[in-house]
């Protein structure tokens, strides 16, 4: 078990072994996203209350779910890089931060587009909107600290500490914002209850969520491999690879 863990922590091993995942993930995200878009935007029924606008949900909900979990993944990677000083975990933190920030921005943008026909306004100071906005600022903070501190090892560690503190603070921020004001409907998916909507609607939604995750891991992996080559450019294995 530990040997397996150490092997994957080595940039060289990771780079050579993870290559096969790229076509798999590319195919999976392409197919699932394509099918999900087709099912959600063309076949799924319009909502009796929201009309056609409900279709924005097929992009908004996956983006919102992914936004939160990508922050969690970033913080876990940051914790790993702080504790075990794995080079690859540090590279993972650096590469996931921009993706997460973009996804969060996507969730905010689609949410406000949906808000206009539904609530009559692009933006309300509602609890969930506000905490997503703060999540975006947390991503922005990690990115800004990275950029400010340059490429050094210590720069990475400071940004990692910030990411971990952010994760510990997220529940506090979420609850405090909840007590402040709330208008947003509760989450559509929970792990324990059956969804309240018909299969024809949660089917494509679930598909889009899975597709978003596949795309996310694809983007992350490509960026991470690129970053690893950049960081290890002086090592033998990269030099050899470049000669070929």
């Amino acid at each position: 078990m530990w040997r397996w863990f150490h092997q994957w922590g080595s940039p060289k091993f990771f780079y050579h072994r993870s290559g096969v995942l790229i076509p798999v993930l590319a195919l999976a995200s392409g197919l699932i996203l394509g099918a999900g878009v087709f099912w959600g935007l063309l076949i799924a029924p319009a909502d009796y209350q929201q009309g056609e606008s409900v279709r924005i949900m097929y992009v908004h909900v996956p983006a919102a779910i992914l936004a939160q979990s990508s922050y969690a993944m970033m913080a876990v990677m940051a914790l790993i890089s702080l504790i075990w000083r794995l080079k690859i975990a540090d590279a993972a933190v650096q590469t996931v931060a921009p993706i997460g920030a973009c996804i969060t921005l996507l969730a905010l943008a689609t949410g406000s587009l949906w808000g206009k026909p539904m609530w009559g306004t692009y933006w309300v100071w509602d609890a969930r909107l506000t905490s997503t906005l703060i999540l975006f600022f947390l991503f922005a903070g990690v990115l800004a600290l990275r950029n400010a501190a340059g490429q050094s090892q210590t720069a990475g560690r400071a940004a990692s500490v910030l990411a971990v503190i952010g994760l510990l603070n997220l529940p506090i921020i979420k609850y405090s914002v909840d007590w402040w004001f709330t208008l947003h409907q509760p989450a559509s998916f929970t792990l324990t209850d059956r969804p309240a909507m018909p299969f024809s609607m949660w089917g494509p939604l679930l598909m889009m969520v899975v597709g978003f995750y596949a795309w996310f891991f694809l983007a992350w992996l490509i960026r991470l491999r690129h970053e690893l080559v950049k960081r290890e450019r002086r090592s033998d294995w990269v030099q050899q690879m470049m000669k070929q």
Partner: protein
């Protein structure tokens, strides 16, 4: 204890920093009636929120300076190397920041409230919420200062990093004051203060080790 005395001495010998952040707060508060309206009835409901935001901003503004000179002349490194527990150093730094930045504002709160036409009982709740809330601001500000110290960066970096973390404090503090001391918000604010007091100095200590190794 010596550390605390040292910090206070430094502050007393050059009070310019504390005075400037106080002046900044008074000036900003004076700008609001000019920008919005001089009408007391419209200013009064804004008072608590405005004073809280100004407190938060002037704390963030002063945070940059609180470690810069210690970093530049190497005393921060000496503190990290010294026998003092590092979390205690960070806690002392936070206390010094609070004394130089939040305390003057707290004492000025009646005057600032008066400028915004707040009645006395609301000023009382405002001060109570600032007493509980501003130490959290200072603890976070020192964490942010430690994260950014020694980086050749614009002074906007620290507020970007730290402001999101101050949101719960801001919400709980202003809600407590505007609801006229509803117990729930007060308890939560006190709980947040306790939590920050026992965790943030240790987090700052971790960051301090990174900062001196740059």
């Amino acid at each position: 204890m010596m550390l605390l005395i040292r910090e206070l001495k430094i502050m007393l010998r050059s009070p310019a920093g504390a005075i400037q952040s106080l002046m900044f707060a008074v000036l900003v508060i004076a700008l609001f009636p000019l920008a919005i309206t001089p009408d007391p009835d419209q200013l009064e409901p804004l008072g608590i929120g405005l004073i809280w935001v100004v407190t938060l901003l002037s704390c963030l503004l002063a945070a940059d300076k609180s470690l810069a000179s210690d970093y530049a002349d190497g005393s921060l490194e000496q503190m990290v190397l010294s026998d003092y527990p590092l979390w205690w150093v960070c806690l002392v730094k936070s206390m010094a920041h609070w004394v130089s930045c939040a305390l003057p504002l707290l004492l000025m709160a009646p005057i600032l409230g008066g400028m915004l036409a707040m009645p006395l009982d609301r000023i009382g709740w405002l001060m109570a919420s600032l007493i509980l809330g501003s130490p959290i601001l200072s603890l976070f500000c020192i964490l942010g200062a430690m994260l950014t110290v020694g980086l050749n960066q614009s002074s906007a970096l620290l507020p970007i990093l730290i402001a999101p973390f101050l949101v719960p404090t801001l919400i709980l503090g202003t809600q407590w004051a505007t609801t006229g001391g509803e117990a729930f918000y007060g308890y939560m604010l006190a709980a947040l203060l306790c939590l920050s007091l026992v965790t943030l100095p240790f987090a700052t200590a971790v960051v301090a080790k990174i900062a001196v190794s740059r």
